[in-house]
């Protein structure tokens, strides 16, 4: 018994402790800030595309979108009335533990607090009765256990209009990259003006039916100005971006050069018989934020 007690003490000393109350406070701050401030890489991309856009209506949409971003930052109004369902990717370091409450509960409580205090719209409802849950709960939380003693919480308020235009397909292995690419192109073409273009595409390739959309969603957390570390995947992203922009849908569907701001691919091995693909469409109001505790 004594030996066991010693072991337990050592175990406890190696564990970093993070208070649930700190998580709640940081998440509440983060969801408010994310709904008011577009990330720098998104703003820079919008400005760069505005400068290159050849369609007059497209340039006018960019002007309004950029003015809206400035106004939201200055007034504290949310960038969009659709403050989204609250999607979180949480990476919990295996050498830390949460004290004074559960991790998922703390994230959810922080989100609920932030949506209330920040005058953000609560968009969560019963799928069939359509009764609003009233506080934007539950949060969508994807939890992963990772090396280290840090807790990273990434947040995306995901709007419904672009989410509705997203899709999953179980392709045949023979269809390969061309099949993936054409599925994504058709999704964007069919979506047209609906998802508030210019869009960002998160593409999941591989894994399983249940996990490929999570790959796609996670891809949307990458900054627009990064490059995929695998050169072949990076080339695929560029090829798809260039093709999507040839569709000519343009800002808000009014025609133009800019239909897509970026394509981000996230791949994982899959079954011999399968080629799962998911296309998660994000609108131009591509809000996201993260905190590391």
């Amino acid at each position: 018994m004594a030996r066991q007690g010693v072991k337990l003490t050592i175990f406890k000393e190696n564990m970093r402790e993070i208070k649930a109350s700190d998580i709640r406070a940081r998440v509440a701050e983060m969801v408010i800030a994310a709904n008011r401030n577009l990330p720098h890489d998104v703003l820079e991309k919008l400005e760069a595309c505005a400068a290159k856009e050849s369609s007059a209506s497209g340039r006018e949409i960019f002007r309004q979108v950029l003015e809206n971003a400035k106004l939201a930052r200055d007034t504290g109004l949310p960038l969009c009335q659709d403050c989204g369902l609250a999607v979180f990717f949480v990476d919990l370091g295996q050498d830390c533990r949460v004290t004074g409450g559960g991790l998922k509960q703390a994230v959810t409580q922080g989100m609920v607090q932030g949506y209330e205090d920040g005058y953000l719209r609560k968009s969560s409802c019963d799928p069939l009765t359509r009764e609003n849950t009233g506080d934007n709960s539950p949060a969508v939380i994807h939890l992963d256990l990772v090396p280290g003693d840090a807790l990273k919480i990434s947040f995306m308020p995901k709007g419904g209009g672009a989410e509705n235009m997203s899709g999953v397909a179980m392709l045949s292995p023979a269809q390969g990259w061309e099949g993936v690419r054409d599925f994504a192109l058709r999704r964007v073409a069919e979506a047209g003006s609906n998802p508030c273009p210019p869009v960002i595409l998160g593409i999941g390739i591989g894994a399983t039916f249940d996990t490929v959309p999570i790959l796609a969603k996670k891809a949307l957390f990458r900054p627009l100005d990064d490059t995929h570390p695998d050169p072949k995947t990076a080339a695929g992203e560029q090829e798809l971006l260039s093709l999507v922009n040839k569709l000519g849908i343009g800002p808000m569907g009014l025609g133009g050069d800019t239909t897509c701001l970026g394509v981000k691919i996230n791949m994982a091995p899959c079954h011999l018989a399968c080629l799962p693909v998911a296309v998660n469409i994000q609108c131009h109001s591509a809000r996201r934020a993260e905190v590391v505790l």
Binding site: T75, L77, A189, S193, L243, L247, G253, L254, C283
Partner: protein, 190 residues
């Protein structure tokens, strides 16, 4: 050159007939908010022979669920939601005098036909510009279905609210058709 109009609500048939796809319109006056759940209730009320919470005669319905109004403001962010989900409901409302809807995204062929039959238009507002658009809203008041929260029907008083004519009463369409041939894809719809 873009044609600009300044119109006051309620809209008349001649207001509508003067509009073409691509025109810019600045709307002033009362417009009503309604989106998914509110439309379902409006249609249920009609089915039961009940009076609607507002007159459809010359009315403009804005597809929006605003964010809550912070202190000192009449409304929160208030940009358009995607319109196709209201297509089925809107056809019926157009038969009863509704002159215009405001939203974003394409409409069904049936709804576009209803616009021609009933002399009505579909306006587009800029999605993702809800903070900016909220500046044109001078007052807001819930007039029906308060239990629906963001989806409640509100009477908005707007001033120079900027919209684009997407579908006019003559069959016009402003949205770009995706160029599938340019990316080597067959058009499966035709």
């Amino acid at each position: 050159m873009t044609t600009e109009h300044r119109l006051s609500t309620p809209l008349s048939e001649s207001d509508i007939l003067g509009l073409q796809s691509g025109d810019v319109v600045f709307l002033t006056g009362v417009i009503y908010t309604a989106r998914d759940a509110a439309h379902k209730r409006l249609i249920q009320a009609l089915d039961r022979g009940e009076e609607l919470p507002f007159s459809l005669e010359g009315a403009v319905i804005y597809y929006v669920g605003p964010s809550p109004a912070p202190l000192g403001r009449v409304i929160g962010s208030a940009g358009p939601t995607t319109s196709y989900r209201m297509d089925g409901y809107a056809q019926r409302l157009h038969t009863l005098g509704l002159r215009a809807t405001i939203g974003k995204g394409g409409r069904s062929p049936e709804l576009r036909q209803a616009l021609q039959t009933h002399k009505a238009v579909y306006f587009g507002a800029t999605g993702g510009a809800g903070a900016l658009l909220s500046l044109c809203v001078k007052s807001a008041r819930v007039i029906a279905f308060p239990d629906l929260g963001p989806e409640a029907v509100r009477e908005l008083m707007v001033e120079n609210f900027p919209v684009l004519v997407i579908n006019d009463a003559y069959g016009g369409e402003l949205y770009a058709k995706p160029d599938l041939a340019a990316v080597g894809l067959r058009d499966l719809s035709s």
